[in-house]
């Protein structure tokens, strides 16, 4: 059987689309984990990154930490958190959150630091208070990089949630692990392709969202490293 036949034989089988092990169920589990982890990561990482970016203090530590955390092996983090906190749903999602916070923080910080000092000065010059400067000038100007960070975090979570099936959660990763256990490559391949498709769709969604939300004046050559 060649690769495409593996996929079609599995994906076109109606039984794979029903029940607690069906594609819709696993997909919603996967999206659920992603949404929860991303929401909390943004809730924690965004204010932190903004505060550090605005005051300029602790920036070096933040950048160093964010880079260092890129070296963290996701499987290691998952197994440690689950090993300490036990098997269930909360520990793996905690691991997902921990891995998603650095990109969000780094993106927010970088976005705010990249703003021309003149702009911030001008804002202060017209009488804005510090929190107004942050909210009405710095953050809107930093949106491209902030979005870049959130987008990167989202992809990180989708990818890690796949691996998390190893420590017992559901989601699309289940197809890969269960398929390997019974040597059913059709299942493995279908699971992998579904995950890849999900990641691409999430990426495209974020690009679309960015276009909607970010002011057109900012999507110039200045915003490096975020557009596809």
């Amino acid at each position: 059987m060649d690769f495409v036949s593996f996929l079609t034989s599995w994906l076109f089988d109606g039984t794979h689309w029903t029940g607690s092990d069906g594609v819709p169920a696993r997909l919603s589990e996967h999206l659920g984990y992603t949404a929860v982890a991303l929401a909390i990561a943004v809730a924690v990482g965004f204010p932190l990154g903004a505060a550090i970016g605005h005051t300029g203090r602790g920036g070096l530590i933040l950048v160093g930490a964010a880079n260092g955390l890129r070296a963290l092996p996701t499987l290691g983090v998952l197994t440690i958190v689950v090993g300490i906190a036990g098997i269930g749903l909360v520990p793996p999602i905690t691991a997902l959150i921990v891995l998603a916070i650095p990109p969000v923080m780094a993106g927010t910080y970088a976005g705010i630091r990249a703003i021309e000092p003149i702009t911030v000065d001008a804002a202060r010059g017209v009488g804005m208070r510090e929190w107004e400067v942050l909210l009405r000038v710095e953050i809107p100007n930093a949106l491209p990089l902030i979005f870049g960070g959130v987008r990167s975090a989202a992809l990180q979570v989708v990818s890690t949630a796949t691996i998390a099936a190893f420590v017992g959660v559901g989601g699309l990763g289940r197809y890969v692990f269960d398929g390997l256990a019974v040597q059913d490559y059709a299942q493995v391949a279908s699971g992998a392709v579904l995950v890849a498709a999900l990641a691409i769709i999430v990426d495209v969604l974020f690009i679309g969202l960015q276009r909607l939300v970010v002011s057109p004046g900012l999507t110039s050559a200045k915003s490096k490293g975020t557009s596809s």
Partner: protein, 212 residues
């Protein structure tokens, strides 16, 4: 910690495999990315296609790519090539953009001067344009190296050796020490790789330190 000393042989073997699985994609990825990056810096449509394909490939989750490739290119699933190829793809995806940007940022005056002196295009690329792009390439390599070192451990999920084995084993036995050793080893390896590349970058670009 006595566990570490008791198992130095095991850890040494795993380190060797891990380094190999992270290094080969880095080198092959660099070799592949240079001509692709050059192409992207020369032609706008090539740049568009190359960058969007790289972006796309980079988006695909690692485990998915690792298990899908065997089906597409026909390797057996326990082959370590299944980790090397996806990591090479990620490395190329990362570096193509940096190299393209680096080459386009070489000042036109410098390129013109080199041509005026009599450099042929290939020699000009090798002796002038690429060396000036080295700092950016090194920065990209550092990111790719650290990323690769972190990703190799995922191979353990399909039976490929490396530090990842410490994670799967430790998890099954409920043995936290083993997992922690694996994480620390990975971080240390990443630190060493990062420092080494930084050093190589400094050595290759003596002109950036001149006049200090």
């Amino acid at each position: 910690m006595t566990w570490v000393f008791d198992h130095l042989g095991l850890l040494g073997g795993l380190t060797g495999t891990h380094v190999y699985l992270a290094l080969v994609p880095l080198v092959v990825g660099l070799v592949l990315a240079i001509p692709l990056g050059w192409l992207a810096s020369r032609s706008r449509p090539a740049r568009a296609v190359l960058l969007s394909v790289s972006g796309l490939l980079y988006t695909i989750p690692s485990l998915a790519l690792i298990v899908v490739l065997p089906g597409i290119i026909g390797t057996k699933i326990l082959d370590s090539v299944n980790v090397i190829i996806p990591l090479t793809i990620y490395t190329v995806a990362l570096l193509v953009r940096s190299i393209a940007d680096a080459l386009t940022s070489v000042p036109a005056t410098v390129v013109a001067a080199a041509t005026a002196i009599g450099y042929r295009p290939l020699r000009r690329f090798a002796s002038v344009e690429f060396p000036l792009a080295v700092p950016v390439v090194i920065a990209g390599l550092r990111v790719a190296a650290v990323s690769n070192i972190s990703l190799v451990s995922i191979g353990a999920l399909i039976g490929i050796s490396g530090y990842g084995v410490l994670f799967t084993d430790g998890f099954q036995l409920g043995f936290m020490t083993e997992i922690v050793v694996g994480v620390v080893a990975t971080l240390l390896l990443a630190l060493v790789a990062d420092a080494l590349l930084l050093l190589i970058g400094r050595l290759l670009t003596p002109w950036t330190r001149a006049g200090r």
